[in-house]
């Protein structure tokens, strides 16, 4: 008899058990999709006990795809880091599954790299530190390459000229070292033999400094005394000669009727010696007294001389020499025949003087 109706009091306990159900009488074709889902199963309704897997279910087993309870086998290995600590760079150790935290290679929280020293208080703008921890030894940064090696400096990390505005470069082909700016175009080259070449630019010294020649041998002999071997100045330029007159204890400018033309009055100062040239023509002076030409470019310290090569400006002895005093003067005094003053040709038009001289400057 088919089961067509279930009374209101339902089914008695165990009314339907395995004896009432034929094999395969309730299989997937006898219930709709979703008719047996979580909502139709009470908690723990299908527990481990209801599973027919082989083996023993426990806290250390899991249900494997072959319907067996299996104990997992750990095929991974644990890696140990020795001396691990904050900031340390991790390196290999030479031992399997073991790494090393390097005390002398670290990156601090600011991203600064430390080699040879643990991070410590430092200027914020320093990003990389290389220190020799062994006393008595020097720290070197070794950069090598088949063609050469170098360091570039710039304000950009991009692939543009901004990242090599200045550079230091060793060239293996001739073993030279360049220190340059302007993308390598200007700077110096130190050759293998020790010579220094300025690629483009000048050598500048602070005032009072220059080239020291003290390694060279000095003048010797009775009465000779070497005073200085520092070449510290060179300068060239122009100066303006003026005719002086002596008035009430001072040398002042004489009155020029015609200034004339100063075409080529230049000086060249080499070390402490000033060389000068005078080329003055077409002038006329009205009230000079003694024959004095002033306006030299530097105050004198040692004496000097002036040789007149071509002039009509003197009263007499046109081709004579002049004298520069040592006491801070900037003027040439012209004497003749011993200690006799010469004089300018007052009130004569079209005078000229060409002369050259030198003196020691203060």
């Amino acid at each position: 008899m088919a089961l067509t109706k279930i009374k209101a009091d339902g089914l008695t306990a165990d009314l339907i058990d395995e004896t009432k159900l034929a094999d395969n009488s309730i299989d997937s074709e006898h219930y709709n999709d979703g008719s047996i889902d979580n909502a139709h199963l009470a908690d723990d309704a299908v527990g481990v006990a209801e599973l027919s897997a082989t083996g023993t279910a426990s806290s250390s087993t899991f249900l494997r795809g072959d319907n067996s309870w299996a104990t997992p086998t750990d095929t991974n290995t644990v890696t140990t880091i020795n001396n691990n600590a904050d900031n340390k760079i991790i390196t290999g150790s030479g031992t399997a599954n073991t790494l090393e935290g390097e005390a002398l290679a670290q990156i601090d929280s600011g991203g600064d790299l430390w080699i040879g020293h643990a991070p410590t208080t430092h200027y914020d703008n320093r990003k990389m530190f290389i220190h020799q921890p062994t006393a008595g030894e020097t720290a070197y940064l070794s950069i090598t390459g088949e063609q050469g090696a170098g360091i570039v400096f710039g304000d950009s990390v991009g692939q543009n000229t901004g990242n090599y505005e200045s550079l230091i470069w060793h060239n293996n082909s001739d073993d030279s070292l360049k220190v340059t700016t302007d993308n390598g175009n200007k700077g110096i080259k130190i050759e293998n033999g020790g010579d220094v070449e300025v690629i483009d630019g000048n050598v500048k010294f602070a005032s009072g400094h220059g080239i020291d020649f003290s390694a060279t041998s000095d003048a010797s002999g009775t009465g000779i005394s070497m005073g200085n071997e520092l070449f510290k100045d060179y300068e060239e330029g122009s100066w303006t000669p003026v005719i002086k007159k002596y008035v009430s204890g001072s040398w002042v400018n004489a009155t020029m009727t015609t200034a004339g033309g100063i075409s080529d009055c230049y000086y060249v100062k080499i070390g402490d010696i000033c060389h000068f040239h005078v080329a003055w023509s077409g002038f006329e002076v009205s009230d000079s007294s003694y024959c004095v030409l002033g306006g030299l470019p530097f105050a004198s310290e040692g004496r000097g001389q002036c040789v007149v090569t071509y002039t009509t400006a003197f009263n007499s002895h046109q081709n004579q020499g002049g004298h520069i005093s040592a006491g801070g003067d900037q003027q040439i005094q012209f004497y003749h025949t011993g200690n006799n003053w010469n004089a300018w040709n007052n009130n004569t038009a079209g005078l000229y003087i060409y002369a050259d001289g030198w003196y020691k400057v203060a």
């Binding site: 060239e236 330029g237 122009s238 100066w239 002596y246 204890g249 001072s250 007294s289 306006g295 006491g327």
Partner: protein, 84 residues
């Protein structure tokens, strides 16, 4: 591309016992602010010089170093070397 020429008193030096003021007057030619040439003209001022027409920075140095003592010393030196 403008050419400009300026004058700069780029060295004002005090030298010697009598505080002579050595002046280097630089004539500078620039093209678009890039210096093309710099040439020098030199002159020296002694403690009895008239500095009223000198530039301010030169006058300032002269005023600072030419004390009455220095001026007196220079005057005596001049007189001691009088040609007369």
């Amino acid at each position: 591309m403008a050419l400009t020429e300026t004058i700069e008193y780029d060295k004002i030096e005090v030298v010697g016992k009598y505080k002579a003021v050595q002046i280097r007057k630089a004539h500078i030619v620039k093209k678009d602010d890039k210096e093309l040439t710099r040439s020098f003209e030199r002159y020296v001022l002694n403690p009895d010089a008239d500095v009223s027409k000198e530039p301010t920075e030169v006058k300032a140095v002269c005023d600072a170093v030419w004390t009455d003592t220095v001026k007196d010393s220079w005057k005596k030196y001049q007189e001691s070397n009088s040609p007369e």
